[in-house]
């Protein structure tokens, strides 16, 4: 790795780059899935390549290759410089990066059980056991389970003299029971929808999740939803489970705080943000009890946004985003930090792989726990709905107007969880919603969820992000909004 990275760096500098950074990544992935008692997928992949990003002539350039020869690496480095010079044709301002120190370090994320050492047959056996449990419930028409393992070995070199080696192991797993009846499809997922739970951990994650133990309940709920009442339309207090709140944070806090959106560089695709610079330190984003951080440090937990250094070689940090309800921080890069007058990047530049440039991405954007117990929260709610597990999500391109649907809900009447509700949904305006938060459950109910599939950038990059959350209550929210009357 180091030989080719050094070679690329030297070529770029020799060709006129005033700044250069090289990433070499070797990624191994194994994906296993089952469906209705059969094995669906057993596949494994490996990808090795090198990407080089440079500033030359006052413009940015990037080129990548997976042909690891001196000649091909030379060609990629020269192309990166050529592209940078072309970029400079339209330059309006000099590129300035906030200072960063040279770092030489080695970091490996904790991984107790290497998932690639676990026999595939054992994984499939567990998934087929879950599958059988799901299908043992009459009315379940489709049972699906999956495991996804990834190991990323990365070397970062920059013309600052930094040399950083990082090794991360990621595990994901989950399952879904689908029930079709009449003119309706209902689904229940565990431990979360759209792939399940993902963390920077080894196979120990699979062992911690009580997968088999929850299968029957999940299957029964998918069938029971057909006979449940439709979620009412109107204004209600809602309590969101921690996984749904995690996605709510992702969409309505995590994306708007990305400084590249704020500054307009995602305007054509991912969109912009309502969090213009004048709002920093002045906007009452949320109620006083809401505190949100963007924390990439290992101390925050094994989230998909946990690392030691970002892809510009900036050390992982914990950045306060919302403090006692006030908006106080952005996710930034070395360039965007300079643009808005910050002294340092928040360390949020991340690239999907060797063939992509780093972009500002969420790290672990988490709400800090409160003090409530879930049972007390329900007992304290007179007329509300408890909503669990995301089913749909959508938000406008500046992150004001959102709408979410969940797989299941329960009506709360007089402090008691009563009837099951199907097709729950709610919507609102971001800051109104967060200012209506009046109760957050405590640390015992806080989970660091993984979102493995966050898309951004052109060419599109998929990134894993982390979101810690515990159940929380929001007052007077519009519910039942997704179903046209």
């Amino acid at each position: 790795m180091k030989e080719f990275a050094t070679w690329a760096l030297d070529t770029a500098v020799a060709r006129g780059a005033t700044y250069a950074e090289v990433r070499v990544l070797d990624t191994r992935q194994r994906y296993l899935s089952t469906k209705n008692g059969q094995i669906s997928q057993v596949r494994e992949s490996q990808s090795l390549g090198l990407g080089i990003r440079v500033i030359a002539g006052g413009g940015w350039g990037f080129a990548s290759t997976d042909m690891m020869t001196h000649a091909d690496v030379d060609r990629a480095a020269a192309l990166a410089v050529e592209i940078a010079l072309a970029s400079a044709l339209t330059k309006k301002h000099k590129i300035h990066l906030v200072p960063e120190k040279k770092i030489v370090d080695h970091w490996a994320a904790p991984c107790r059980i290497d998932p690639f050492s676990v026999p595939t047959s054992s994984c499939l056996e567990l998934m087929l056991k879950i599958d059988a449990e799901l299908r043992s419930v009459p009315g379940v028409t489709l049972a699906e389970a999956a495991m996804d393992f990834r190991r990323v070995e990365q070397l970062f070199l920059s013309s600052l003299g930094s040399e950083i080696y990082q090794l991360k192991t990621q595990t994901g797993t989950g399952y879904v029971a689908t029930s079709f009846a009449g003119t309706e499809i209902q689904r229940r997922s565990y431990p979360n929808s759209f792939g399940g739970q993902y963390q920077n951990k080894g196979y120990e994650l699979v062992q911690e999740l009580d997968l088999v133990e929850n299968a029957r309940r999940v299957a029964e709920e998918s069938v029971a939803l057909h006979k449940a009442d439709q979620c009412p339309v109107g204004e209600k207090d809602i309590i969101l489970d921690s996984s749904q709140l995690g996605l709510q944070i992702h969409e309505s806090i995590g994306h708007p705080i990305e400084l590249d959106r704020v500054l307009g560089t995602e305007a054509n695709f991912a969109g912009m943000s309502f969090l213009t610079i004048d709002k920093l330190g002045t906007l009452k984003y949320a109620s006083d009890i809401v505190n949100v951080v963007a924390d990439a440090t290992p101390a925050h937990g094994p989230g998909l946004g946990t690392f030691a250094y970002d892809d510009e070689g900036v050390p992982a940090q914990c950045t306060p985003i919302i403090k006692d309800g006030l908006f106080v921080g952005y996710l930034s890069s070395r360039e965007t930090a300079s643009t808005v007058g910050l002294k340092r990047s928040s360390g949020a530049m991340r690239a999907e792989s060797w063939n992509r440039i780093p972009l500002i991405r969420m790290t672990n954007v988490s709400i800090l726990p409160g003090t409530w117990k879930p049972e007390d929260l329900i007992a304290d709610t007179d007329n509300g709905i408890y909503m669990e597990t995301n089913r749909s999500w959508s938000i406008d391109d500046r992150r004001y107007n959102f709408q979410f649907g969940t797989e299941i809900g329960w009506e709360i009447r007089g402090g008691k969880k009563t009837r099951m509700l199907k097709n729950p949904s709610y919507g609102g305006i971001t800051t109104d919603f967060w200012n209506s938060c009046d109760a957050i459950c405590g640390p015992d109910y806080w989970t660091l969820w993984g979102t493995p599939n966050c898309g951004k950038g052109q060419p599109m990059q998929t990134m894993g992000t982390g979101h810690g959350a515990s159940p929380a209550r929001f007052r007077k929210v519009q519910v039942g909004v997704a179903y046209p009357e």
Binding site: K35, Q41, V42, R43, E44, S45, Q46, S47, L48, G49, G59, W60, G61, A63, S64, T65, D66, M67, A76, I83, A86, S87, L89, T90, K91, K92, H93, T120, L124, L142, F180, T183, E184, R187, T265, A267, N268, F269, F274, N355, R356, I357, S392, W393, S394, I395, D396, R398, Y400, N401, Q403, G405, N423, G427, I429, Q458, P459, V481, A482, P484
Partner: protein
Amino acid sequence: MNLTRQRAEEVFDKVLKYSTADETEATVSSTSYALTRFANNAIHQNVAEESSSLSIRLVSEGRMARASTNKFDEASIRQLCENALMLTRLQPPEPLLLPMPGPQTYRSLNRFFNETAQLTPQTRAETVAQVVERAEKDGLTAAGVFSNGASAYGIFNSRGMKAYHEETMSEFSVTMMSDSSSGWAKRTAPYWMELEPQELAERAAQKALGSRDPREVVPGRYTVILEPAAMLDLLGFMIFDFSGLAVHEQRSCLTGRVGQKVFGENINFRDDAFHPLQTGAPFDGEGIPRQRVPIVEKGEVKNLVYSRQTAHKLGMQPTGHGFPLPNEYAEAPLNIVMDGDRSSVDDMIKSIDRGMLVTRFWYIREVDPYKKILTGMTRDGTFWIEDGQVKQGVRNLRFNQSLVDMLGQVEMMSPPQRTAGEESFEMVVPAAKIRDFNFASTTKY
């Protein structure tokens, strides 16, 4: 790696040398891609990529596994074959697994243009500079991308099947912004000269200028004109419902509806990889020749598409729409051509007393999988129409609309055109006038 058919076959020969499986399939692919991205009237991102991949599928004693790498040396290929074989041995046999297909015959498709493959960063930058100049003429801010690329891939198997395809692709999209509005336009084409970036920039600029100081509209049901990109991004959410396996597994919104009139009398679409405005290979992920399939005729769901495995399971004929094996979802039509009519967007505008024109949608998601209710936002150019004229821009709205219902409410259509959006792959679709389209809420801009 600069892939040619000969080089791909040589790689496959190496795979065969090391594979001891009962059956062996190899997919060899290579991509070169470059993209210039601009925002705030300047280039801020400019990238190039070369990548290649070898993916093998082995079948041994009725068990199947896939393994992939981007390393092509002898040792890596040998290791790849050993890994894949080991993965096959760690699983129970699949009783329904078919033998690999034998030699096939494909229609010739020429979708490779040297001019696109060889487009330089300088040409992309100069084009962007002209678009920025157009933006600055009216005090607008431009953002967008200009990309080009070439890809090649071949699928070969030990039963003698040999499929190979190469093509080029280019894209230009642009957003023009004023202080209170925005406009957008996009086009993709195998031959980059068909992109016409200046025409797209002008269109986006006019939308931005015409929608300045938008007014708020009370949410509700309105007659709307959906421009082709808006139509495309909605229709894309139904593609997987036309899979034979999806209907069989009762996860499709067409479960129980095949053979019925589900949509309006004027709705017809087919899958046609050979349409002159379409792109892609003449074979599917398993190397089966793609066929033209009439899917919806006069509103009736006539046919579904079938991979080889699904067809075998359900007693049908494969249509050449399968994904590479193994996979969960079997097949989908990826070359949709929807019939249109002779109306122009101007004709549609003239026919509307009170309604809206939508340029594009954003963040569309499925709310209900059987009713096929979708939600999403309008974006980059939504206009109020009154008394047959476009009056002014409106603030963006959220919709919650059943796609099934919507395709029963189409009143007028334009001729279809190759269309690119951001939430679906490209299709050939018309603009359409639709009654009673349901808007549920508004946003602040």
